[in-house]
């Protein structure tokens, strides 16, 4: 997901959660971002700081990138996403829509595109700290 679109979705979700949890102010948000999204953390931080409003105005965002592990459903081989050498076009496609990985990467052992992704996809709002 694009950093700005991602930031907008994160802010919207946090505001909703803050509302549900009756938080007056959000102090800190821990985010885990999947390696497959290949998010530019600096751009995401900038987008978050520009988009944060209201209860989020003083919130700090701590962003951690999570590695993606791939496991072949056919032969069981496990490997890391970072082991794959991809050209710019494939990298960009996976950045926008991580599932297109199945068009660009195959199991290095058996050649199957039928593999499962463990971690490394999407965004996780790990924790929200605030004042009630």
């Amino acid at each position: 997901m694009h950093e700005w679109a991602l930031a907008e979705a994160i802010i919207s979700s946090i505001l909703e959660i803050a509302e549900k949890e009756n938080l007056k102010e959000v102090k800190e948000v821990k985010l885990k971002v999947g390696e497959l999204q290949q998010v530019n953390v600096d751009v995401l931080e900038l987008a978050l700081s520009e988009l944060k409003t209201g209860k989020l105005k003083k919130a700090k965002f701590l962003i951690e990138t999570v590695k993606a592990e791939l496991i072949c459903r056919v032969c069981g081989h496990k490997w890391d996403f970072s082991q794959n050498k991809l050209d710019r076009e494939s990298t960009e496609a996976i950045h926008f829509v991580p599932e297109t990985i199945h068009a660009y990467i195959k199991c290095p052992e058996c050649g199957s595109p039928d593999f499962e992704l463990f971690g490394g996809r999407g965004v996780v709002i790990e924790s929200i700290r605030g004042v009630k």
Binding site: M1, H2, W4, A5, L6, E8, A9, I10, S12, S13, E16, I17, E21, A47, E89, E92, A93, F96, V97, P98, E99, T100, H102, A103, Y104, P113, D114, R121, G122, V123, V124, I125, E126, S127, I128
Partner: protein, 254 residues
């Protein structure tokens, strides 16, 4: 508190933003069927082109991620990804257009159900459609992931259902219609495509279910030779018939 995305998620931040991405879209029409090969993509494409030709703001979204075909119908050679705090649909033949081919090109993209759902959520949460009168969604066949996700995520989406004269196609269409009815999803009506002889079996069955029967589209061999050439496609009897059904399709009381 832990909020995550994915199959075991409690809250997916992307889902939160979908309504906002579509807030300026007046109507969403999913062109759907229980069976493949009934002409959904052709009807969706020609419907979108016709509406755009009438001056409406129209988007076309190809939601068939493993077997996209609208780019072939429209003659789109390359879909460039343009970012502007999200992804901008491309402009083609007066339409705003988005397809997975923008990312996977002509490569084969095998996807399992959860991946298909993720692609749909990803594209709905990032594509900036802006102001539209109509967003036409070309659906994959059947009543699995995408159909269920569209119903779940896009509450105000209406369904335009395509059948052929074959009772085999209608067998699956009937199941789709029953599902949509049970889930209280608005159905615009049924169009019978690839009509070759004057029989009223499908019309009678549709009417018997209290679903609007919108009309018939002929089997037109010229369509095959006009794929990729929008001007030639417009000249086909098929396209002219689609255009004649448009008032019924967009009428709020169809």
């Amino acid at each position: 508190m832990r909020v995550s995305e994915g199959s075991n998620s409690t809250v997916d931040p992307r889902i939160n933003i979908i309504d906002k991405r579509l807030e300026k879209v007046k109507r969403l029409i999913a062109v759907s069927s229980g069976k493949g090969g009934v002409g959904k993509s052709l009807v969706a494409s020609v419907l979108a082109l016709t509406l755009a030709d009438k001056g409406f703001g129209v988007g076309l979204f190809d939601a068939d991620f493993t077997s996209p075909s609208t780019h072939k119908i429209l003659g789109v050679k390359k879909v460039e990804i343009i970012e502007d705090k999200g992804i901008l649909p491309i402009h083609v033949h007066g339409l705003k257009y988005m397809s997975i081919v923008a990312f996977s090109g002509e490569k084969t993209l095998p996807l399992r159900g959860v991946d298909v759902s993720n692609v749909l959520i990803e594209l709905f949460s990032t594509t900036l459609w802006g102001d539209l009168d109509y967003l036409i969604i070309d659906m994959p066949p059947g009543i699995s992931d995408i159909t269920l996700d569209i119903i779940r995520l896009v509450k105000r989406c209406e369904f335009l259902v395509i059948s052929t004269p074959s009772i085999l196609a209608f067998e699956t269409v009937e199941k789709l219609l029953k599902l949509l009815r049970e889930l209280k999803v608005p159905v615009i009506g049924v169009v019978e495509n690839m009509k070759m002889e004057q029989r009223f079996t499908i019309r009678d069955k549709v009417v018997g279910m209290n679903v609007p029967f919108l009309g018939e589209l002929p089997f037109d061999p010229k369509v095959e030779y006009s794929l990729g050439d929008v001007k030639a496609l417009y000249e086909t009897i098929f396209a002219k018939k689609v255009a004649s059904l448009v008032p019924k399709i967009i009428s709020p009381h169809a």
